[in-house]
Structures are given as structure tokens and as C-alpha cells.
Symmetry: C4
Subunit: 229 residues, 4 copies
């Protein structure tokens, strides 16, 4: 993918997080990667969304070193870098403080598969990380955030459950490309909202069966997907 296309796609993903109501103030950041050239494009730090252009996106190498020095990258860059290294399957990452996903992250509540809305996008429970230690926070906070996400995903396929809630912080979501990552972030917020509401009226809300979870997830994903045109 040419860098200009990557920058445009990443800009659009950043703007989409705002138009979908997932981001307030300058919280949140989206990035994308071109695996062929090893280039990452990420939102700059603290630039208002309504003034961003594709050229504001900061380009870095796979170690997160900016390739020019016009603008500083998002302060969460190192988390993205770790995730791109740990999850070679993914092509884009979105971080938001979207309200209900953050409420669940603050409450250390995983989001279980309560219905088919969830199953269409997430093939199981969306987990919460452990808390970072004081040492991790003090010495290498941003990278350690990526590492604790990778630790939480473990041996699983990160594209099967493309989101993790960072304890006391908020969601990191990914996908094969920026558009898919945006969609996953939108659905995550919706299923987190429904999970919170479910927990309020039932301390043990029923999850759907593995059969139904597979039926819906595999309809949209994998070799036998039948959804769409």
C-alpha cells in the first residue's frame, strides 16, 4: 500500500472514532501498518481532530522511530508498536476511551458473549488485562501496556477476539485494516453497553451456547463465510 493511501485510511479511522461517538476531547488514536514496507502511520499527539489532514499522520518504522520530525506521534505509539510486533496478523489498531468499554475496563469486567451481536464480531469473551505493576508503570509504561495486552491474548488468534480491555484504562481494538478496526471498536462499545445493562439486572447473565457463537462468527469470518455479496 502506498504511504499516502495508508495515511488517508488512518486519518479516516481516527475521524470515524469521533463521528461514532467513541472519542471525546483528544482521547483516542488509530494507526495502520503497511507490512510490505514496514511502515506504521499513527495519529499525531494532541492535534485537534477537526484540523487533521493525511499529512499530519506520523510515519514510523517498526521500532516506532519517526521517519521525519515534523510532528510528535501519539503518546501511545509504543503500545501500537508492541502489538504490531506481537500480532503479525493485524493491520490496524484503535485505542479509545469509549464510555461503556471503559466502564467495564475500570470495573475489571470481561465482556462475555451474551448474544449474536457479539458473536458476529468476537469469537468469545473480550478479556481484561491484569493491572500493570508500579515498576512497569514507572519504567516503560506505554510499551508495557502493549505487552500486557499480548500476555492477555496469549496463544489465541488476535483476529478471533480483536479487542482487549486494559484494566483501569480502556479498550485497544484491532483488525486487518483500519476500516475493520473501526467496525470492531463500534461493536465493542455496543456489546460492552449491553453487557453492563445485562449485569445490572442479572448477576450471572446467560451466555450464548458455543454452537450459536460459532454459527454467527463463522458466518462472517473464515473460509466458509457466507455473509455479504
Amino acid at each position: 500500500m502506498p504511504l499516502t493511501a495508508l495515511k488517508t485510511a488512518v486519518l479516516e479511522a481516527n475521524l470515524a472514532t469521533v463521528s461514532h461517538g467513541l472519542v471525546k476531547a483528544t482521547f483516542g488514536n488509530a494507526s495502520g501498518i503497511d507490512r510490505a514496507s514496514g511502515r506504521i502511520a499513527i495519529k499525531p499527539s494532541g492535534v485537534p481532530y477537526d484540523r487533521m489532514t493525511p499529512d499530519h499522520m506520523v510515519i514510523t518504522d517498526l521500532d516506532g522511530v519517526p521517519l521525519d520530525n515534523r510532528l510528535r506521534p501519539s503518546s501511545d505509539l509504543d503500545t501500537h508498536v508492541v502489538l504490531y510486533r506481537e500480532f503479525p496478523q493485524i493491520g490496524a489498531i484503535i485505542h479509545t476511551h469509549s464510555t461503556y468499554a471503559t466502564i467495564m475496563a475500570q470495573a475489571r469486567r470481561p465482556v462475555p458473549p451474551l448474544g449474536t451481536t457479539h458473536a458476529d464480531y468476537f469469537h468469545g469473551t473480550i478479556p481484561v488485562t491484569r493491572d500493570l505493576t508500579s515498576e512497569e508503570i514507572n519504567t516503560r509504561y506505554v510499551a508495557a501496556t502493549g505487552e500486557v495486552i499480548a500476555e492477555t491474548v496469549g496463544d489465541g488468534d488476535p483476529l478471533e477476539i480483536p479487542a482487549v480491555l486494559v484494566a483501569g484504562h480502556g479498550p485497544f481494538v484491532w483488525g486487518r485494516d483500519p476500516q475493520e478496526a473501526v467496525l470492531n471498536a463500534v461493536i465493542l462499545e455496543e456489546v460492552a453497553k449491553m453487557a453492563w445493562h445485562g449485569a445490572v439486572i442479572d448477576p450471572q447473565p446467560p451466555v450464548i451456547s458455543q454452537t450459536l457463537l460459532d454459527r454467527h462468527y463463522l458466518r462472517k469470518h473464515g473460509a466458509n463465510a457466507t455473509y455479504g455479496q
Copy 2:
């Protein structure tokens, strides 16, 4: 009804589910039927709402067989087909994952008639289906969803309570025509929202009397309706 009118009405119903906030991403689908010609018009699968035109609506016969092969129909087509066969009174069907109706469907909570908002559109409790069995899910999931809705309605008149919540999934709503189905879907979401809020502050929220339920429902429906111009 000419097919072009049916396709336009079905398109408008699909767009209305989005403008009323009942649908996110490509969740949801609306269909209509012309009983005279035995033709069903339904949303295509996975086409973005902002690009849909009347001609994108897929026309099928009463068995759900598409009459041309330009676009695939909604993956929920077979549910619609079963409902049109089981409920000869109805002329349109809408499926959404609207937030509060889905929260209640996931919690297996019927929506009782707590007030006159409910009674103006639904002549009693909006029920939840049983869970589908693994065999139903594995062998004929989409049609079985229609069958379990019909099983839940039983001997009742489907127009008296024009909605069912499918357990772990979301609402199916219907009406005599696409416009009425949209209105029923909007009101269902509102009464589900109020029912959830009522359940939070009172484990046994009071339902209205049969007398008040009849008074409001029959004001708007049936031979003695007095509402409107």
C-alpha cells in the same frame, strides 16, 4: 402493489431503522410482501445503508427463492419466509439489534405492559422465545429462528402483539405494511428501554390493568378505533 412500490417501501423501512437509531453497522433488515403476487422484497446482504437504492432490494418468491441473481438477499431471509407463511395477516417484517430490546432478549426478559405507551401498540406482554437447540442451530438455523418465533406466538393473533424477542439474539417485529412495522420497532425499543429501567428500581414492576390495556389498544386498533383523522 407494483413491485417498484414494494421495493421503495422496503428500502424506506430499512433506512428508517437507521435514522431511528435502531441499527448499527449492517445489522438489521426489513422486508415486505405483496400477497397478491406472492412476492417478497428484502434488504440485500452486507450492502452499506448509504448506498442502497430500491433496485438493491432482492425479490423472492414465497419459498425465498430469488427471482434474479444480481445480489444475495439478507442472510436472515429464511426467517422472514417462515413468518410470512405462518402469519398470513402480516405484510412486513423488521429485524434489528436495537439496544434495549436486545438487552431484554439476551436477559430472557419479556417486556410486560407497564404503561399506556406499550398499550397503544402492543396488546400484552412481548414474549421471549426459548433457546434454539444445537441441532436446530446446526441444521437449519435461520428457518428455525422463524419457527421458534411462530411457536412463541402460538395461537395468538400476531398483529395484536407484533413483536417477539429471540433469546440471545434480538427482536423481530412486524406489521401490516413496512411503515407500521417501523413504528412498531421504534415503540418496542422505547418500551424495552422503560422496562429495563423499571426492573432496575423494582424487581416486580406493576403492570397496568387489563381494562387500561384494552382501552388504549382498542382506541388505536380494530373496528372501534377512534384515533387519528
Copy 3:
């Protein structure tokens, strides 16, 4: 007030209930009265809001008899007529099914003065009516709704607490003129929303002192009001 001014003010109040998010579908109705001529203007029944003009407002006398027969008045007309007769101080009435006020009406929960937002507009607890009897519903439902509101207000000044929640139904709100009634309906929904949220986290939410209630209410109302220009 000339009839044309009354009809315009009543139309604007009806439209304001929609733009403020208090009304969905065709729920809700606003009316106004010109005490000098004894004329009531009220929303017609079942006319879509986006097509209403001032001339759609139905003019009736003090007994609710329409003075022409172009359009049927709101089906809630008789409630308005009773309230104008019982409360000579008021000049306009608004009925909505606004979400949180209706949730409280369905739960038979009065809205207590939990803060100064409430005190700025309502000089005490907003009450809920008793349930209507089956006989009242069957024989004279709409007028009886007005009577049970008047019974609930009792000897109080209806302008001091310009709203009542009708059990299992929703709010009726009033004011000296249509604009004031709209404002009272907007604030009622907001204080009902805050009261519901307060009740969820505290079974006995603290009410403000009579001193603070008086301080805020009397700042905006009565002979010693100091608010505004």
C-alpha cells in the same frame, strides 16, 4: 390574545416537545387557552409533526366542543379541558411520554426535590396519581385522567408544582403560557432522569432542605424574583 397568535404558540409548543426529544411517534400533545375569549387551541389527533401548520390546531370552547369540524382534536382533549377548568391559573398544558418521567410514572415513584435544578422550577415533590378505577376507565377515561390529576394537586397552587405523573401513563405539565409549559416539561424530564439515577445508587436519596428549596424557587418565581433581566 388573537386566535392566530394562540394557534402559532401552541404549534410551536408541540414542535418543541419533539425537538427537545420528549416525544416519539405521535405521542404527546400541547394546548393553550385564551382566557379572555374562552378559546382552547390543541394539537389535532394523529397528524405527523412535520406537516403541522398553525391552522391544523383545533379550536374548542371551554367544554371542549370544536368550533369547526375540519380536524379531530387530540384524543386527550377532555383531560386538557378538565385541567383548564380546575386550574384557572394556567394558560397551557403539555402531555408527553418522555422517557424518564414515564419510567417514574410507571413505577409510581414521585420525583422528590433532590437538587437545585428541581427547585428552580418545582416548589416540592412532583406527585404521582392513584390508579384510575376500571369504572373510570370504562365510562369516562379521558376526563377522569384530568380529574385524578386535579385530585392529586388538591388544594395546592398548580403553578408551584406545575406537573403531575399519571400512574402507568406519563406526565402532564403546565404553565402560564405554552413557552413556560415547554420549559417545565424539559426540566421535568431532566429531574426525573436524575431522580431515577439517584434511586439506583441510594434507596433513600437525600432531598434538599426547605430553606434551599425556597431560596432557589423564589429566586425565579413570585413577587421577589431576581432572576433574568
Copy 4:
């Protein structure tokens, strides 16, 4: 800062409280101060937001005495005056009745640091004042509101936790300038919303560690801030 710039900045802050959904009706007011000239600019009382111009902002001296007599200042002026005197570090004040911050103020619930959203703007728990006494309300209500806020902040730096919830009333928020005060008011509402939701599903929601609180707060504030361009 010239007075015209101050008036424009204060107008924009007032309008921002509306566009961010923090203010309904004419609740709420924003002010700013030019420390060099000792001039305060504040919203006028009871003027509709959609008609306000910079010249509607009322200019007063440090004792709250208006320097002309065209429009009355906000009825909360004396609270602002006390806060400007007590907190020499601040340059702007915003008062709203934003929904969730007010719900917490009514419930006398401080907003604890449950996550990094909070930590990015508030360096600790956002406190609630004690109730004012009847004597304070009756004799010097508006100034006493400022005094009880100052009493609640105590020896702390008001810019470290730039908001207090006034019991039974709502939030007062401040910043070094009107733009920063708006941002603090927006984030306060969001963290209050998340705190309410957290309290519903967990009576003792976990707070983040002092290490994480410091890490996030100090990233954006103080001599070693690294955020932004």
C-alpha cells in the same frame, strides 16, 4: 488580555457548555478574569444562549461590581468572585448542572479516580462540599457557595483537581483559561458518568494506583509534561 478578547473567550466558553450537552435551558454560566486589569467577564442572567454576543458579557471588578449597568450579571456571580479571590491560580470558571456530575452532587458522592480518563485531567478524587447551613442560605447564599467550595479544596492546589461538586446543586469547574475550563467540565461529566455506572455494578469500585494516577496526570501537566506538540 484586552477586554474584547476576554469577552469573546467567555462567550465561546458559555456556548461550548451548550454544544457539549452540559447545559439545558438557561442553567449554567462561564466567566473569565484578566488578572492584570482585575476585570471579570461573566454571562448575563437569563439571556437565551442563541442570542448572546460578546457584548452581552457583563464586566465587573474584583468585588463583582458591574462596570456598567446594561445587563444584570449571572445570579451566580458572587460564587465566581469568591473563587477568583480564593484561587489566584485560576483564570476561568464554569458552572453547569450537567447530568451525571449533578447526580453525583445530589447523592453526595465524590468521583474517585477509577481510570486514566480521570487521571489525565484530575489528580485525585473530585470532592463534594458539605451542605450549606440554613443561615448561610438565608443570609449570603451565593457567596457562601464559593466559600464552601474553597473550604472543600482546603490547602490543595485548585488546578490539580479543578472541580468541586456542590452538594444538592451541581459542579463548579475551573482552569487557567476559558478553553481549559470547558475541557475540564466535559471530562468531569464523562468521569462522573463512568463513576455512576461503576458504582451500580460494584459497591466498592477499584481506584487506580497512585503510580498510574501520577503517570497520566504528570504526562499532561507540570514541568515534565510530554503530551501534545
